[in-house]
Amino acid sequence: MSNRLNPHKMLGEIAPTSGLRRLNRLAPLKASTVSVVARVNPHNEYRARLRRELRQADVVHRQTVSAQSRKPLHVVADSAPLAFVIGLGVEAWAGAEAELLGTAREILPESAIALVSLGKINCTPSEDGADRLIEGPAGLEEHNFDALLALVDEYKPQHLIFAEGGHSSDLARRYVARTKAEAAFNVVQVRAGQVTCLIDGGKREFTRKVPPVIALSRIACAKLDAEMLYEARPLALPEIAATDAAFKDAGVRVASARDLPLSEAELVVSAGAGLTDWDSFHAVAEGLSAAVAGSRVVCDAGSLPRSRQVGASGQIIESRCYLAFGISGAPQHLQGIQACRHVIAVNTDPHAPMMKRADLAIVADAQAVLKEMQLLLNKGGAA
């Protein structure tokens, strides 16, 4: 095996923490200048890594652009043990498919990783780490199960890797219940050949050798850095003995922005006091397929129902992105959005606490911006 494939081997047989290997992949030319530390405290290492990566960001960017055409191809023999990474049409979380592939490679460095995609492919298999690719039809959980059984029967993979979340969790457990395969669920940390699982309602954990079936939590996953290309060689889909689902699909209903429960919305558009143009506010929310929310003052005034109130005395939400229009950000309100990944704030006051919290803060009149967004959304997206 050349050093390019397993750069960590250059540094001797030190059991690497996952981050250290990342660093090497980011800047393979600089690998030799990195000091070798075994068993680093992951929190210190995280911060140190962040500093290093920020410093090397420029280098990486330039390198990636020029290296695109010169990327080596990772080839794996047909005799290598096969591992399925199960990807479903709707990902368990944004970017799950790519992250599963990357993490699968970490756990099973010797295996051929096959992406089994039942439904839309949500990643770039050749860049994200798929040695093989099997595409199957999207369907209900019961149909996915039939397809999986047929695939396992045909290709007999040694390992199956699922995501914990949504349809994927369900499929993993159906499979284990049927085949009685040994499984590790709620995996929160991985290394080569080992996984750490949570038990006891998340209060305890234990580490074990990798079993045939693994279900990975979001926390355990990270995707590869595109420093090499992968074959993504297509494999044929076998005959699937489809059985009728006992409960037929009677259709999917999409909730409108006003009805979409805040606890399930991935995108939330929120109004503060002073917003008067409710038409454009609701239109923007519909256009973004987001749920509507408001501050306490807005709900007190009756402009939005109390169930739409975000904050300590309203709802605490965990959406991926929160757009705050004209909200100053009282402490109780900020408490409600603590768990939101990204916050966008539009306010005329640059010193409002919400602006500090925001990942994207714009000093402008919220009303006017909403109107402009409505126009852009009507035109069908950014030009």
Partner: protein, 246 residues
């Protein structure tokens, strides 16, 4: 319609006090709200928490006094002996292995179809089950016959357990006679706190969070939409130019 709800004993995450498992309560609430004849079953050591379940409006909770034995065969036997139309469970237990496998094993042993992420049961005209899908969508499933339903933990807000109902219901204990296979003890440690792993290139995104001033409303709107697209929050609005790979 007769519904059986499988119950477990949960733990308050702060105080550690035994309590009704949150997702089991949601399953019980769905069952009670459907208007069916609901029975609760629990396999395990004796617990006062069973009275709390009665307090939600259950007339009976069957307690299979099994100490630390594997509960799946015991539940299978109980469900087989009653003629239930639906069996409801929560998503995962708050104590024990917490693998979420119990309903799937029950479905396999009983040869019943299983539907997960259930948020609604409508038995007024035939049987319609509502499932939660990503992004707040809902999928309806119609059918007939018995099934195992795994209820989504956020389906509904469960009702309060009341003193009056606690006194009106009863816990029926079934002592288990034979020697049962005990589940193996696992050596485990307290779980460590972990945060999401650093993603490639995210160091760059975190570095700059400036406040944009002097933007016109139109520019501001465009900036917001660009940000949403870049972070993948609005897949429906994928712009023509493909995302930059960092």
């Amino acid at each position: 319609m007769k519904i059986c709800v499988c119950l477990s004993i949960g733990q308050n995450p702060v105080s550690g006090r035994p309590r009704m498992a949150a997702s089991d309560r949601v399953a019980l609430e769905l069952a009670l709200a459907s208007g069916a004849d609901v029975t609760g079953v629990y396999a395990g050591p004796k617990s006062d928490v069973l009275t709390d379940y009665l307090g939600m409006g259950l007339k009976q909770v069957h307690h299979i006094d099994s100490a630390r034995a594997d509960i799946v065969p015991l539940l299978v036997e109980f469900i087989r002996s009653g003629s239930f139309d639906l069996v409801l469970t929560g998503t995962v237990t708050e104590a024990g292995l917490s693998s979420g496998m119990v309903p799937y094993l029950l479905a396999e042993e009983l040869s019943l179809p299983l539907i997960s992420r259930v948020v609604g049961i409508d038995a007024r005209a035939g049987l319609t089950i509502t499932q939660a899908e990503a992004g707040g969508k809902r999928r309806m499933r119609t059918g007939a016959g018995a099934a195992i339903l795994v209820v989504d933990a956020k389906a509904v807000q469960p009702r309060l357990s009341t003193v009056a109902a606690q006194r009106a219901g009863e816990v029926i204990t079934h002592p288990v006679v034979s020697d049962l296979p005990q589940l193996p003890e696992l050596t485990s440690q307290p779980a460590r706190k972990r945060s999401t792993r650093l993603k490639a290139g995210s160091g760059q995104a975190k570095a700059a969070a400036p406040i944009h001033t002097n933007l016109s409303a139109a520019e501001a709107a465009q900036t917001i939409l660009d940000f949403l697209q870049a972070e993948g929050h609005v897949p429906a609005l994928q712009s023509i130019t493909s995302r930059q790979e960092r």
